[in-house]
């Protein structure tokens, strides 16, 4: 098994991607709603990721 080195950002985006796919699949009634919900979840993940990243940046001084 090859070893993989990812940055914090890459790992967190991949985590967000796969989590959003599953969250989209298990919720809502129609495929369009599922797609929209999955995309929205992914966007929330990324916004939270970037926001928390900046918060930690300023928190460290």
């Amino acid at each position: 098994m090859p070893k993989m080195n990812l940055t914090h950002f890459e790992a967190a985006v991949l985590f967000a991607l796969f989590s959003s796919v599953v969250l989209g699949v298990i919720t809502k009634r129609t495929d369009t709603e599922r797609l929209r919900y999955g995309l929205r979840c992914f966007a929330y993940f990324v916004v939270a990721l970037i926001g928390l990243g900046w918060l930690m940046h300023f928190g460290h001084g």
Partner: protein, 146 residues
């Protein structure tokens, strides 16, 4: 002022019969645990099954490639118990992926470093995503969801 009179007969409300359970939920949940997304395949929803399978598989493989550690159940203070037993349950929830990995001798010690740390979290999260898929398949099997 006179109140509004409702003289027109109202349209009969659409009565939607609740979805009937299609089959016993045991094989759906069992297969869903063993093979991520397997419950959906059994319920003839291959698209959703394939998406759950791909997501759980990718997350698990990424966790292995980042050399994440598998949790062993440990008890002690409440925090230790929650982390180690919870982590073990999360790992175990990946089903056959976890069992194969252990049977093939994967034994990564817990090491410092953000990549290993992410790997450990990916391995647990893969199992947690599979639990979400199992719960959804269970609800479809008992007729609570379409």
């Amino acid at each position: 002022m006179l109140g509004k009179l409702n003289l027109m007969p109202s349209a009969p409300a659409k009565s939607e019969a609740p979805p009937q359970p299609t089959r016993s939920w045991y094989p759906v949940v069992g297969l869903g645990w063993l093979i991520p997304g397997g419950g959906y395949f059994l319920l003839k929803r291959p698209g959703r099954g394939a998406l759950v399978l791909a997501s759980v598989l990718c997350m698990f493989l990424l966790g292995l490639m980042m050399r994440g550690a598998m949790f062993q159940p440990q008890t002690g203070d409440i925090l230790t118990t929650v982390i180690y037993v919870g982590g073990f349950i999360g790992d175990l929830a990946s089903g056959l992926l976890y069992l194969l990995t252990i049977w093939l001798g994967y034994n990564q010690p817990d090491m410092a470093g953000h990549v290993h740390d992410y790997g450990t979290k990916f391995l647990v999260a893969a199992g947690l995503l599979n639990i979400l898929g199992m719960v959804d398949a269970y609800e479809i099997a008992i007729g609570k969801k379409d």
